[in-house]
């Protein structure tokens, strides 16, 4: 019966690196996609629906309100989610190796 691989070898294996990079990259790409939809979507909305985006919301135009004020908290939300998930992933990886 073959002995189970020591934690040291597992860390250096090709599979571990692939898993590590794929999981982190998947999370990053998902967060980036959420960000890019908003970032690239706003000019499209301005282009295709100028009347809607010029609607007045408490004095601002809708477009101005989104870009000048609401954009910042939205991005804070994405980064908060990313950091929580990313730290959890790292703890998971350490645990799986040291087990």
């Amino acid at each position: 019966m073959p002995t189970p691989p020591s934690p040291h070898d597992e860390v250096h294996s090709e599979e571990f690196l692939r898993l590590l990079m794929r999981r982190q990259l998947k999370l990053s790409v998902a967060c980036a996609a959420a960000f890019l939809v908003v970032l690239f979507g706003l000019p499209v909305a301005n282009y295709l629906a100028p009347q809607l985006m010029a609607t007045r919301v408490a004095g601002f135009t809708l477009s101005w309100l989104i870009l000048g004020v609401l954009f910042f908290p939205a991005v804070w939300g994405i980064s908060w989610f990313f950091i929580r998930r990313s730290i959890a992933l790292e703890q998971d990886e350490v645990k799986s190796v040291k087990r």
Binding site: C31, P50, A54, S79, I83
Partner: protein, 599 residues
């Protein structure tokens, strides 16, 4: 008292606040520099810097004259489209956080050239990386110098623009050469809170007196509205040079349609309307996208900011720091556009001014309006914004000067010209390099009065976006990258962006009605060419939309062609970049490296 003639018309409050800021900054720089003598002292101490301090320090170094003065000036002159600048300056950090901050910190090199060399085991590549520290740095110092010139010309109405540039540039250069201001965390963190105070307090007072942000934006009639909704906001009549309400408050306004409008003006009158209807909005959309790409990717590739991530204790702290930076600068960036909107409604005469007397000084000038109602309070508020402006261009210019001087003295002199030089010779080289780079920056700064501060900083971002961002992004996530691939992509993309930015500036300077127009008159035909080809003009003014894909594409193609040159220990390098520190791979890697390759 002829020698003091330049003091005529100087407001004592404004002068006092500015003077105290300069003195305090210089004093704190020397005080903290004397406490940490060597570079290693700084780095070792720096490694234990807490997340809060480090985030304040990064924010303090990042918020330059462009953020403090330029954004407000550009929102005033161009309206909605200029809002992309503050938003992307702040949100670009998200890309840094998602893809670069953690891995870069784990790799443990101190500077980007160090990383470039370590990742590819190639000293040649280090030299290429150093060149871009200088390219990006010079484009970044020009707007800081304009900020200095504008502020001094405002405080001392009698002195010309160039005298302010020379004076401030010389003081900071001397300070850096003498060893003060080494980018110490404490000083930079203090600068952030200083700038935050200086931008927010006057905004709140101005809004309390003249009406709030929403009401001020609301006073401008949107497209489709016959007149602005009735509100309490009192507006001054707009001058002839100011853009109309509907194009100012709506997207695709004066900033992004400049090239098409110039092309239309060159056509016979009867074709203009049809031409504009067909081309104006699509080209404007293209401009907007290219601008967004430049700013978001550029933020993730600024050498003087990336260096700061190594002062985090580990990769997790690096990520936390990035998030706090986004919050700190995000809050800051809500305020400058408010200045721009207030300036449009209350001080439209700035639209008629050019250079140092134009919209770029709205942050400094606007608080004086409070003086009409509350006397000396207006002067005090204006003094506070002047102090903030000094903090802005001093901190960023010193930071840039230190990193550029370091590159020249450490990498070019210490490694290429005279590797055998001793410690004392290198200190002399550092001082000489500081004076040389400071001198070049001052010289360049004297020429750029007609260019907008914020626009110039955008160009530095565009160069970083096409050089450092592809390098870092690809080398962190793709193990097939080779040195030749990285070098080909970074050089081609970065140089294309550099040439495009330089051509744009030369064309704009040739249009100037003052002395600069005469000096650069030989570039006037460029504007005629662009009037024929507005699309090329946009791709030159905002090159990121083609240079960033070009750089990444070249990296992939050339790396595939030279696949045999992938570093042999690439799996270990990738593990160090991506595995959590708790696994202890970093120490292992260093031991292997020192034992194996004899580095």
């Amino acid at each position: 008292m002829t020698t003091l003639a330049f003091l005529n018309g100087v407001d004592p409050w404004i002068f006092a606040f500015s003077f105290v800021t300069v003195a305090a900054t210089l004093g704190m720089g020397f005080w903290s520099a004397s406490r940490s003598k060597t570079a290693s002292d700084f780095f070792v101490a720096g490694r234990s810097v807490s997340v809060g301090w480090n985030a304040s320090a990064i924010s303090g170094e990042y918020l330059s004259a462009a953020s403090f003065m330029g954004v407000a000036g550009m929102v005033m002159s161009s309206g909605y489209d200029a809002l992309w600048y503050p938003v992307c300056y702040a949100c670009g950090y998200l890309f840094l956080l998602l893809f670069i901050a953690g891995p870069l910190r784990r790799f443990g090199a101190y500077t980007i050239p160090d990383f470039a060399e370590g990742r590819f085991d190639s000293p040649v590549f280090r030299k290429i990386a150093v060149c871009f520290v200088l390219f990006i740095g010079f484009f970044y110092t020009m707007p800081q110098m304009k900020g200095a010139g504008v502020t001094l010309a405002y405080i001392f109405p009698g002195i010309p623009y160039w005298a302010g540039v020379v004076l401030v540039g010389a003081v900071i250069t001397l300070n850096v050469a003498l060893g003060g201001m080494k980018g110490i965390t404490l000083v930079q963190a203090f600068q952030y809170w200083m700038k935050m105070f200086a931008i927010s307090v006057p905004v709140f007072v101005l809004m309390a007196v003249f009406g709030f942000y929403n009401g001020q934006v609301g006073a401008n009639a949107a497209p489709g509205e016959a007149a602005a909704p009735a509100g309490q906001v009192q507006r001054q009549p707009l001058v002839a040079k100011a853009p109309k309400d509907s194009i100012w408050v709506a997207p695709f306004g004066p900033l992004t349609t400049k090239a098409v409008n110039a092309a239309a003006a060159a056509l016979p009158a009867e074709q203009r309307a049809a031409y504009l209807a067909e081309h104006q909005r699509p080209y404007s959309l293209l401009y907007t996208y290219s601008l967004i790409i430049a700013l978001v990717c550029g933020t993730a590739g600024l050498p003087h900011i990336l260096v700061r991530f190594y002062t985090n204790p580990n990769g997790v702290a690096a990520k936390r720091t990035t998030m706090w930076v986004m919050i700190l600068i995000g809050i800051f960036y809500v305020f400058p556009p408010i200045f721009g909107v207030l300036g449009r409604n209350l001080m439209p005469e700035l639209y008629s001014g050019v250079g140092a007397k134009g919209t770029d000084k709205v942050v400094l000038e606007l608080p004086t309006l409070v003086a009409a109602k509350f006397g000396v309070l207006g002067s005090i508020l204006s003094g506070i914004t002047c102090a903030g402006a000094f903090a802005a261009f001093m901190s960023t210019f010193s930071g840039l000067l230190v990193s550029m001087t370091g590159a020249l003295a450490h990498d070019v002199y210490g490694r290429m010209i005279r590797p055998q030089s001793n410690q004392r010779e290198r200190m002399v080289a550092f001082k000489f390099a500081a004076v040389l780079i400071g001198g070049v920056a001052i010289g360049l700064g004297c020429f750029v009065e007609p260019l907008e501060i914020n626009f110039m900083v955008g160009q530095a971002f565009a160069i970083a976006a096409a050089s450092y961002f592809p390098l870092l992004f690809m080398s962190v996530w793709w193990r097939g990258m080779t040195m030749k691939g990285a070098a080909a992509g970074m050089l081609t993309g970065g140089l294309c962006a550099l040439v495009a930015a330089a051509l744009t500036n030369l064309g704009t300077l040739a249009l100037d009605k003052g002395p600069m127009g005469k000096i650069f008159s030989s570039f006037a035909p460029l504007n005629g060419f662009w009037a024929q080809h507005p699309l090329l003009r946009i791709l030159c003014e905002q090159p990121a939309i083609w240079t960033v894909p070009l750089a990444i594409g070249l990296m992939v193609v050339v790396s595939k062609a030279t696949a045999s040159a992938v570093p042999a220990d690439i799996r270990m390098k990738m593990l160090v970049l991506h595995a959590p520190e708790d696994l202890g791979l970093k120490q292992e890697y260093i031991q292997e490296h020192t034992a194996g390759a004899g580095h």
